[in-house]
């Protein structure tokens, strides 16, 4: 069924009786050409691009819970391509371009909103760093704009540009960045993949791999064995847990990241703002809630909930830059499990086991990567070689000293 404005009006006039489920609920088949583990954004996007761009068929996405129940439905929805390093920036810029055409590609309203992202600058050193970053972005075909304090005052009159504790000295803006409705991304990819024959199998946990003579033959699941020509793993925070079933140890630690949303307010915040003197970022959802977050909690966790010290730290950042937030009531807070890699960058690669492929290590920035990750993982699965924009995301980069460490923190996952 094609979605359109006309369709909405037609259904409204006929009592909304004509809508059909957006995807099927199939029984697993005995064998697929390609099995993707994980029905998050990355797994579903991979299935969509495999079917649509790479002409693959007989594909299944296997999800232990319901699609969109993981990080794709828990993040703060920010998309941007403001990276510095060569291994990253072309990949994230490809992602931003795919976001720009996503709704037409999927025939689904994912509320892609290029409302712009502004990274505030509070010191001369930070201005130098952001100028360098902006130049790297422009060299890679992305947009970047250095704003003066006067420009910022015009856009965001409520920011204190006169005598704040951390004075605002300017900002790096990416006007094409913004937000996307996160669950709609999962649903849109799922619907499109399903319409191209992909089986989306929910409530089915992968419990192991069947590996014979170094070749992966399929997966053991809570609903029995499912054979596969190729298996692609895209389970984000659960990466180490899943890959340990194939006796692999990963350069990844799982950490909890919290996020917060206030009660619905009238429009006050047109774009996304990040505070440069602490870790705090904020945007306003279309429903009016101020959506904000900050640092990860900093210790290994699979609990999907965090602790108070980080809540306090985030609120201190909020009060330093948006004192008005102190008057708003908090509606909800939650946590998600991040696959924090040793250099803060992801992995999209083959494993040493034939037919077993891995996608993970997204840290707290994998939502914006969803389309490019799906495209690159599909490319790798279909053609056996990496997408030209994802050649740096290899397993062996740690061994070879080819880390992609945006922050220059070294092998300390909780600092990325």
């Amino acid at each position: 069924m094609r979605y359109s404005g006309f369709r909405v009006i037609k259904e409204a006039l006929s009592g909304h009786k004509g809508w059909t489920p957006a995807w099927r609920d199939p029984e697993p088949a005995e064998h697929y050409d390609i099995v993707i583990i994980g029905g998050g954004g990355h797994g579903l996007a991979t299935a969509h691009y495999l079917a649509k761009e790479f002409g693959q068929s007989r594909i299944a996405v296997i999800e232990k819970g319901w699609i969109g129940g993981g990080n794709v439905g828990r993040n703060t929805t920010i998309v941007r391509s403001n990276y510095l390093l060569d291994g990253n920036e072309p990949f994230y810029e490809m992602s931003l371009k795919l976001w720009e055409g996503l709704e037409q590609d999927l025939n689904y309203n994912a509320m892609v909103s290029q409302r712009g992202i502004l990274n505030l600058i509070h010191s001369d050193g930070q201005r130098d760093a952001f100028t360098r970053r902006g130049n790297a972005m422009i060299l890679n075909g992305a947009d970047a704009d250095m704003l003066s304090t006067a420009d910022i005052k015009k856009r965001y009159p409520f920011l204190n540009t006169d005598d704040a504790r951390f004075p605002i000295k300017g900002g790096l803006a990416q006007h094409r960045g913004g937000t996307v409705r996160h669950d709609a991304v999962a649903w849109g990819y799922a619907r499109s993949a399903d319409s191209r024959g992909v089986d989306i199998i929910q409530n089915c946990e992968v419990t192991g791999f069947r590996i014979e003579n170094g070749v992966c033959k399929g997966v053991e699941t809570s609903r029995g064995f499912i054979g596969a020509g190729k298996v692609g793993c895209a389970v984000a925070g659960n990466s180490s847990r899943l890959m340990s079933k194939a006796n692999m140890r990963l350069p990844i630690e799982s950490h909890v990241l919290q996020a917060f949303v206030s009660e619905g307010l009238k429009p006050v915040l047109p774009g996304v703002i990040t505070f440069g003197a602490g870790h705090f970022y904020c945007s306003q959802s279309d429903k009016g809630g101020l959506v904000f977050g900050g640092d990860i909690d900093g210790y290994n966790s699979y609990a999907q909930r965090g602790n108070l010290p980080v809540v306090e730290d985030v609120c201190e950042g909020a009060m330093a830059i948006f004192p008005m937030l102190g008057r708003a009531r908090l509606l909800r807070m939650w946590g998600g499990i991040m696959d924090m890699s040793m250099d803060g960058s992801p992995i999209i690669d083959k494993t040493h086991i034939d037919g077993l492929f891995f996608n993970g290590g997204w840290c707290y920035g994998g939502f914006k990567a969803t389309p490019a990750s799906g495209m690159s993982f599909a490319h790798l699965l279909a053609k056996g070689e990496p997408h030209p924009n994802a050649t740096a995301y290899r397993f062996d980069r740690f061994e070879k000293g080819l880390m992609i460490d945006e922050k220059g923190m070294g092998n300390q996952p909780n600092l990325h």
Binding site: N238, S240, R241, S244, R249, L250, P251, I252, E253, S254, G298, Y299, N300, S301, Y302, A303, N307, P309, M342, F398, E399, N411, Q412, P413, N414
Partner: protein, 95 residues
């Protein structure tokens, strides 16, 4: 989270800096012939278990001792806290 420090009693975890898997105590010998491989493993690969995990916490805003905390990553429950010095010595790491 409250960490029951063996010398100081219960302390807020916010006083500590988390330093990762306690297996980092087992630093490989740089003079071994396979040191490149063992150091790659040591520096970059982690078990990252869902469940009980022994990990290093540094009492940075306290007495600056290093602790080995046994904590459940699924519930954040802490079952055991030891001085890292004692753990390392028991493993023969130093005199």
């Amino acid at each position: 989270m409250i960490i029951d420090h063996p010398l100081l009693g219960p302390r807020d975890s916010a006083e500590f800096t988390y330093m990762g898997d306690a297996r980092l105590i087992d630093r490989p010998n740089p003079n071994d012939t396979d040191a490149a491989a063992t150091f790659f493993d040591y520096a970059y690969l982690r078990d990252n278990p869902a469940g009980w995990h022994r990990e290093l916490w540094f009492h940075e805003a306290g007495d600056r001792s290093w602790l080995v905390v046994t904590r459940n990553t699924l519930t954040h429950e802490i079952s055991k806290v030891e001085l890292a010095r004692d753990v390392a010595r028991a493993q023969g790491r130093s005199k």
